[in-house]
Subunit: 309 residues, 2 copies
């Protein structure tokens, strides 16, 4: 625990930290009474700067597919969602918009009043209607809060702040920790100030281990919440074992294990009691079912049981 | 030169390489006759994988602001543009679309025919009209080709391929190398296959220097083109010297020097003959003038003179 405390003492707070905490406080307060459960969905990768005046980072493969899709399904199940995500990574709803082709699908039309307006071409509209309607409903109900981070230290400060604020929700709080968090970093006092020069020849980097925060989260920050973490491996032989180790170490509710290459079609839920594989059938793959819909449906049921304990 | 050749021999070609080369060939062929100059604008950062089954990368700060803005100004000056950019980084035209707020500015309207359609809310439309019109004009004239890369090796293979194809354009070819290219990498045979485990303790990384390709580009790939490279530093005291060193080493036409913190308001053009600072006046900053408009206007004039030599 001292390790976690030292980390927060020795690292900078994220930009706009006070404002972000205020918004999270206000959102949680609005959903404190009543039955609406609140989920913190973390999404996307954290980066680790290599220089003080940062030109280079260590980053990871995650673009937020898992988290952004899952957030939509939690919203469909009636949850309020705090979406703590890597800036510029995928987000619920907007992830369905074609980045490039957006300008190809807009056209100037003459509206009913005779004025020019920009509209989505008719043949492209249908798919977008549903997205826009869902999004605007969720906005009107005030059930989605977007908070962004970039670096590892931004993320951990915001994770701790969010967790501490959500503690008042008791077992109504759900933590879905899908963000890909850096395991290694360079402490600020060991980082070079300026851009490392290639004229100095080959580069040696020494990276220290990031303290494992899940311990402090489960035991100190949100003691009654339903906490789900992820374990991603590239070697399938390590998967179940690493998931079980995490569960034993942190004593939270569930670890979702997945292998890099197959993560979009199968995951395994590891709890104290069971190991449950969730897989997409071929027909589901063919019809575009997202595995996150099945993941979240199962988790919502598990949370419901947890709430009734 | 042997170093560059070995690099290409020892590194994988990018995905869809044959298709991408075909599109570049076709684009250049279409603009070979006539007066339209063709610029290769490179944009965004390259990443360097740290594992064979890649979970982690070294990446850099660049999101393609310089390149995407510059591409638009080259298009305005009548150039055909090959936009060789980091996938998911900023692109010409779409960079003006608000990612998040896009769903806030669309609404369902009833069209003239009584049908529902998705349109941009009236008060948001004006700014977007100009963008959509410019984009669609450029598309109709076939003057913009988008080619994407992700890793350092993707980028260098595509840079070489594009340059070799553009060689037939002689001095009509302009290379605007704004991409932030990794200086360091891990050769494939020195990379671990699987995700590095944090249970192994602190991490030591050894990175080798990437061969400087500008030499091969200027002397072998596009010998008659107008070549502009960038030099970014965090320490202003190094800027002019490093820019001059690059120019002497590679013998191309111009180096644009910029300091990380001030790159959006000032740059310096370094040539054999002169050092010319291009800066935004306070009034220009206040009215949203982009420095790239001034950069490109100056470069287009220099290219015009180069064409007349």
């Amino acid at each position: 625990m001292a390790e976690a405390d030292n980390f927060f003492r020795d690292t900078p707070e994220p930009p706009n930290f006070v404002e972000k905490k205020r918004k999270i406080e206000e959102f949680v307060a609005r959903h404190s009474n009543g039955d609406t459960p609140v989920v913190l969905v973390t999404s996307g990768g954290t980066n680790v700067p290599l220089e003080g005046n940062t030109v280079r980072f260590i980053d990871n493969f995650s673009i937020g597919t898992r988290g952004s899709a899952s957030a939509e399904y939690f919203l469909e199940h009636g949850y309020a969602v705090i979406f703590l995500h890597r800036g510029r990574s995928l987000q619920p709803f907007t992830r369905h918009l074609p980045q490039r082709q957006l300008l190809d699908i807009l056209e100037v039309q003459t509206g009913a009043s005779g004025e020019n307006q920009l509209c989505v071409k008719h043949d492209q509209s249908k798919t977008l209607f549903a997205v826009v309607e869902k999004y605007q409903k969720v906005q009107n109900e005030g059930r989605l809060l977007m908070v962004d981070f970039t670096s590892l230290t931004d993320y951990l400060h915001l994770l701790r702040a969010s967790s501490l604020i959500m503690d008042k929700l008791g077992n109504k709080a759900f933590l879905y920790l899908a963000a890909a968090v850096s395991d290694f970093y360079i402490p600020r006092d060991k980082m070079p100030l300026h851009k490392v020069q290639s004229s100095n020849g080959p580069l040696q980097l020494s990276l220290e281990l990031v303290p494992k925060m899940l311990d402090a989260l489960v035991k100190n920050w949100v003691c009654s919440a339903y906490v789900v973490s992820f374990k991603l491996e590239t070697d399938p032989n390590l998967l179940i074992m690493k998931a079980q180790q995490a569960l034993e170490k942190y004593e939270h509710q569930l670890v979702i294990g997945n292998v890099l290459d197959t993560r979009k079609i199968e995951v395994v839920f590891v709890t104290n009691n069971d190991e449950q594989w969730i897989k997409l059938e071929q027909e589901e793959i063919d019809t575009g079912v997202e595995i996150e819909s099945k993941i979240v449906t199962s988790l919502v049921e598990r949370h419901r049981q947890f709430l009734n304990e």
